[in-house]
């Protein structure tokens, strides 16, 4: 087993190997994603957590092949169904979108077409993927999809502006699962929603994904949300993966100093405590120095950290860390 896979490679539904995505600007290349590898098992919920500048939003777009210039995939593989998404021509990628890999984007509820009824937007995906249905079948499908996401059938002939934010996001989930994809990429799906609605939407997503057997990659910055939703969690920093482990183990015993500091900075609802942030700033993705990207802010930094970049290695079963401490 190489460092690129975190699990039995034959069972994985999605495998990302050494993915690199750079933005080519007039001032140089911004290395938004710089060598990320992980696998996703069928039906699994994987979380990718990172702060701004960690590269997490770029990953979502990359997996869906929705990058626009000046961003470009520089290297690496994205293996889905034995096809490499990274190098596949556009017309073939289009066939895979929604059918094999679907996206729930941030603020997606605002990208529902305001002049088209919900049921027509749900059926858009079918039309694009040449699925023929009779009128009766279509109505039944729409009803089924809406029910799956906990919406009443009446919603089908409503317009998006008649729905609340949470309901709109659930329509988006319905669209995402309509063709039963193997992978759902959710990029900060609840960032614009209130906390009560957020819980409802995430539970809807969980139920839907479990029922159709899809795997989910949840990308975000909210550690609490990750703790409640995902099975495995990857911590991103400066375009790289610092740690990836089962979620319970990361929270109970974070191995990477960044993960530990991040968890320690989270305010608790049970007792009042010292509020401790992480001093310093994330490094510029433009001029990357060698060595570990977290070196400048790490309380446990050693000499070797400044010059040599630590590889992502499996320290304990299922626990991968990129740190010289281990």
């Amino acid at each position: 087993m190489t460092a690129a896979t975190n699990h039995n490679s034959t069972a994985a539904v999605l495998q990302v190997r050494d993915l690199r995505v750079y933005y080519h600007t007039t001032r140089g290349s911004v290395k938004a994603v710089d060598g990320i590898s992980f696998s996703l098992n069928p039906g699994e919920r994987l979380g990718l957590v990172g702060e701004s500048g960690s590269g997490k939003s770029t990953i979502a777009l990359t997996l869906m092949r929705l990058l626009k210039p000046p961003a470009r995939i520089e290297g690496g593989e994205i293996l889905l169904d034995a096809k490499n998404l990274a190098t596949l021509p556009d017309d073939q990628v289009r066939l895979l979108r929604l059918a094999s890999i679907a996206l729930i984007a941030q603020g997606a509820m605002n990208s529902l077409n305001p002049v088209i009824r919900v049921q027509d937007q749900l059926m858009d995906g079918f039309a694009d993927h040449a699925v023929q249905l009779s009128k009766a079948e279509r109505t039944a499908r729409v009803r089924e999809l809406l029910e799956r996401v906990g919406l009443k059938p009446e919603v089908a002939w409503m317009y998006p502006h008649e729905l609340s934010g949470g309901m709109k996001q659930r329509v988006v989930i319905a669209i995402a699962i309509s063709l039963r994809p193997k992978v759902i990429v959710a990029d900060e799906p609840t960032s614009a929603l209130d906390v009560v609605v957020q819980m409802q939407v995430m539970e809807t997503l969980r139920k839907a994904q479990q029922e159709i057997g899809a795997a989910v990659i949840l990308i975000g910055h909210d550690m609490g949300l990750m703790a409640q939703f995902v099975d495995r969690l990857g911590v991103m920093y400066a375009g790289k993966l610092m740690e990836i482990s089962p979620v319970g183990e990361i929270f109970a015993n974070p191995l990477h100093p960044y993960s530990a500091l991040l968890i320690a900075s989270l305010p608790s609802l049970t007792s009042k405590s010292q509020l401790q942030g992480i001093p310093g700033l994330p490094p510029s993705l433009l001029n990357r120095q060698g060595g570990c990207p977290f070196y400048a802010r790490c309380p446990k930094a050693m000499e070797v950290c400044q010059t040599e970049e630590p590889p992502l290695r499996e320290i304990h079963p299922q626990r991968w860390v990129a740190c010289h401490l281990y």
Binding site: H221, F251, S265, L266, I278
Partner: protein, 342 residues
Amino acid sequence: MPPLLELRHVTKTFSRGLINRQRTVAVEDFSFAVNTDPASITAVVGESGSGKTTLARLLLGVITPTAGAVLYKGRDLRTLTPEERHTFRREVQVIFQDPFDVYNPFYKIDHVLEVPIEKFGLAHSQKEKRALAEQALQTVGLRPEETLGRYPHQFSGGQRQRIMVARALLLKPKLIIADEPASMIDASSRATVLANLRQLNQDFGISFIYITHDLTTAYQISQNIVVLYAGSVTEVGDVEMVVNQPRHPYTQLLIGSIPLPDPTRHWNPDGQTVQTTAAQPWHGGCKFADRCPHVMPKCQSTPPPLYRTDPRRFTTCYLHEAAPVASDADALAVFAASTPTV
């Protein structure tokens, strides 16, 4: 001594459109008083549409109430003389939510520190001005030599917000209204900004109204809490009581929905009605009635009064009608008597 700021039966309605007037009631018959002695931090917690932003703007005098009055030291804001208004601006400061929008990109960050110094005559020479600015920055933990002389885009959101805290500190106000100061900042800097707020309260005796949707941070730094739903108060009182033993069904729902960073303690999706169709217009009773698992017929017809369920906590819910009905003065007294905890 009248309270520093007070809202007396304030209602704020927003209407849109000339012919078919659509009215949204942001805040409904709301009474609230802020005492700054002793200096305390009061959290106002609510989701979007709860009226918390409108509340902030009413307190700052940026908007005027449709009914009721906003009083500063007993005087209606609308009747203040220019001098009184000037003093008001000095004693009541603000920290806004968006650390990006609040800086004029044309100027260096020194500008946001210099303007209040000049406007309020805090320094009389260039050297004094500089010294004041440096001191304020140092207090919040920023290094003046690395901060002054730079442009806003050269700083992170967290740093910009801390510069704003330094600015608020310059005037040594009695009250700072912090409108979601940490919601647009990364988690790792959020704690630092909130620690700065706490520090201002403890070391400089500045009171805060901390407006947020995040109950967790509200719990961390405040002593008292007001929970808003759709423009009305649902629960109010000592923050430990409200968070650990919530009485109002909405507060319970809110707390149960918080994603705790602990995979072993799951949020609670049951015990609440999920919205499956579009919202219905308000019928006149308790605002939460449509979603409440304990709803009774009278909840739909008349809004419940404020019940004092514990010595330092009140709630507006018929489930607790056995408790004595409280007046706004009672709630006020409770807040005034609160002692700051760590």
